[in-house]
């Protein structure tokens, strides 16, 4: 899976997802659970102080990214690891493929990682003939279901309900029990256990790398990252180049914010910290460790007007609160990064050709900005995209552009405005019935497709006011 998950146009994806009642029910239910748990987890804290601190840590790292990346690489190498800086997705997949070839790897187990989805790693490894197995339960379900793309960055199979998951298990891994989540999970656990023991390489993502020690920190509720990093002889962690913290002190703060914001937990069941290769007296851990640091467009975001998006710690609180995501689901975004974070990030990493609609798939309601633990002004960044699309890229439809120019003229010139609003009700008269417009012309057409529009009043408010307050007012 690459970042782009669909060849369809935005409107086609939108229509088919709006018709998907299963998905919409699953998403609405999940949003409710996540929101309730998140509130319970943050309301008892002085959350605004935490947010300020989280923002400060992330901004500090981004402002000194070169320093911390250097420190991280020195410390990974000091503990016997190898560091590879991949400027592009291709460089990253090529490097990892080379390792797989060197090891003659037949089986690779993976812990959940969005960046490996972004660089389309699995399909490259599969082309080499490797069997690649996702061990995060959600990712595993999607992989079994003929590589259904993730619709959420934390809970990738959010769009499926338990009956759909049972069907996938029945068809693909000989499952015969009920739709009970416990039974489904137990079966997956049994199947996956065997894979950990026989894998040649383990691949993980990276929630936070710790520069001071060269460690990679992974947050899971299933313990799968623990097994992926402990059992195979070769281990590869892949990280987006911004995903690091200076020391364990900052990691502790951000992990607590991540788990609270993502699933409303103070901590997840497992926090795996991997530091270097297995040492002489240790019984588990890899004999060989590679850290692949992926740029893939991130350095062009750095230093620009969208830099704050790199503060993201991938908690998905914005997705879990977004009223648009609630109805359209993750697949409508056409990117593995969905919801508000995806609508900002996907056009930056993947370009406007594929993702120019995403910044408009928002009412700018600000709910995402309110819940972001590291205070990314998400709705402002969505607005910034619109400004870039219209004014710098010139990609706005001509009809809209003309309309907005007319708006600018009509509302900056007092005389044109007064005249325009005076004749408006006459112009609209043929479209008005019973004081309502039910089938309007021009831009009103799309409004009246779904709702009535009140008739323009013969007496404008300003005319009423003049009568009300005889003599009028200055200006």
């Amino acid at each position: 899976m690459a970042m782009k998950i669909s060849q369809q146009k935005f409107n086609e994806r939108l229509s088919s997802n709006l018709e998907n009642d299963f998905m919409r029910g699953a998403v609405a239910g999940a949003q409710h659970r996540f929101q309730t748990r998140r509130s319970a987890a943050v309301d008892s804290l002085n959350w605004e102080e935490w947010r300020n601190h989280g923002e400060e840590i992330r901004q500090h790292v981004l402002e000194n990214l070169d320093y911390y990346l250097y420190e991280l690489s020195i410390n990974v190498e000091a503990r016997g690891g190898h560091v590879f800086f991949a400027q592009t997705a291709e460089e990253a997949t090529e490097y990892i493929s080379t390792i797989a070839k060197q090891k003659s790897a037949k089986k690779i187990v993976k812990a959940k990682s969005m960046v490996t989805e972004e660089i389309n790693l699995n399909s490259h490894l599969e082309q080499l003939g490797c069997e690649v197995i996702e061990t995060d339960l959600g990712e595993y379900i999607l992989q079994l279901d003929d590589h259904d793309p993730p619709s959420h960055i934390v809970t990738p199979a959010l769009h499926k309900n338990k009956d759909q998951i049972r069907e996938v298990f029945e068809q693909k891994i000989g499952y015969t029990a009920s739709s009970q989540p416990e039974e489904l999970a137990l079966h997956a656990r049994k199947v996956l256990r065997e894979h950990y023991l026989t894998a040649d390489i383990g691949i993980t993502g990276c929630n936070f790398a710790v520069a001071e020690t060269g460690s990679v920190c992974l947050v899971t509720n299933e313990g799968n990252a623990d097994l992926v990093t402990a059992l195979p002889k070769t281990q590869i962690s892949v990280m987006g180049m911004e995903r690091l913290v200076p020391t364990f002190e900052e990691m502790e703060v951000l992990v607590g914010m991540l788990t609270r914001s993502a699933v409303g937990q103070k901590l997840t069941s497992y926090i795996t910290v991997l530091t270097g290769i297995k040492e002489a007296l240790e019984v588990d851990g890899p004999e060989e460790f590679h850290l692949v640091i992926v740029d893939n467009g991130r350095s062009s975001i750095l230093g620009g007007e969208f830099q704050s998006i790199l503060q993201c710690i991938r908690c998905a609180a914005c997705i879990n609160t977004c009223p648009v995501y609630r109805h359209v689901g993750g697949h409508t975004y056409g990117s593995i990064y969905s919801g508000p974070i995806g609508a900002v990030l996907s056009p930056l990493l993947g370009g406007y050709d594929d993702y120019k609609e995403l910044p408009y798939a928002s009412t700018l309601c600000g709910a995402c900005t309110d819940v972001c633990p590291v205070k990314i002004p998400l709705h402002q960044l969505l607005h910034k995209h619109r400004e870039v699309i219209v004014e710098r890229e010139g990609r706005a439809p001509i009809s809209e552009s003309l309309l907005m120019q007319a708006f600018g003229m009509g509302t900056s010139s007092q005389s044109i405005y007064k005249l325009g609003t005076k004749v408006a009700s006459t112009v609209m008269k043929p479209f008005t019935k019973n004081e309502k417009i039910t089938n309007g012309p021009g831009p009103l057409k799309n409004w009246t497709a779904y709702r009535d529009f009140p008739s323009l009043q013969k007496e404008r408010f300003r005319d009423w006011f003049e009568q009300h307050n005889k003599g009028g007012n200055p200006k």
Partner: protein, 238 residues
Amino acid sequence: MNVSLFATCLVDMVQSNIGKNTVELLERLGCTVSFPKGQTCCGQPAYNSGYVKASKETMKNTIQVFEDAEVIVCPSGSCAYMLKEYVHIFKDEPLWHEKAQRIADKTYELTQFIVDVLKIENVGAKLNGTATYHPSCHMTRLLKVQKAPLTLLQHVEGLELLEMPLKENCCGFGGTFSIKMGQISEQMVDEKIASAEQIAVHYLIGADAGCLMNIGGRIDRKNIDIKTMHIAEILNSR
């Protein structure tokens, strides 16, 4: 107190009733209301769609029109917020930035003005029925006016206030979003209306003409028996 009313373009052209009730209400509360005639729109429709340059001319007009006002009161949380946002929008134009700051400092949304400036919590309104208040997004999250409208509504004699499920969710208006993304907007407004239906209220009250036009327009289309009312209309009921 001398109040300069920023009525908003929607109220001026489409929802004049909101303007009339706002004026009558403020006058009843002892204010002298003026309507600076040069006013047009806060610029938000173009600005939010990405047409920043075109909208800046509109904003400059608004700034000039209200420069000498004592206080500016606006019966819309979203437009009141926009006037405050001018400060950031003009951050690189010192002359306009300074003017924008002066405008921002004296701009109030209607209920915010009544509660925080006039220090009135009971405006003496009466209306029988059950109602729910839709906390519109910009007013609640960006302008951060959350309590004032509820405080005022709680004192309306005969009005029983009920909370609807998912009340914080956007109604799907979003300015040009409602036109550009009509399909999504439809789903959002339907869920909002379903929430109000679930608690079976007579009135759905809001403090933004845009949201009310969206919700009300959909209610009319579907022939649902709930009346959308602007908070100024409620507070001016006697």
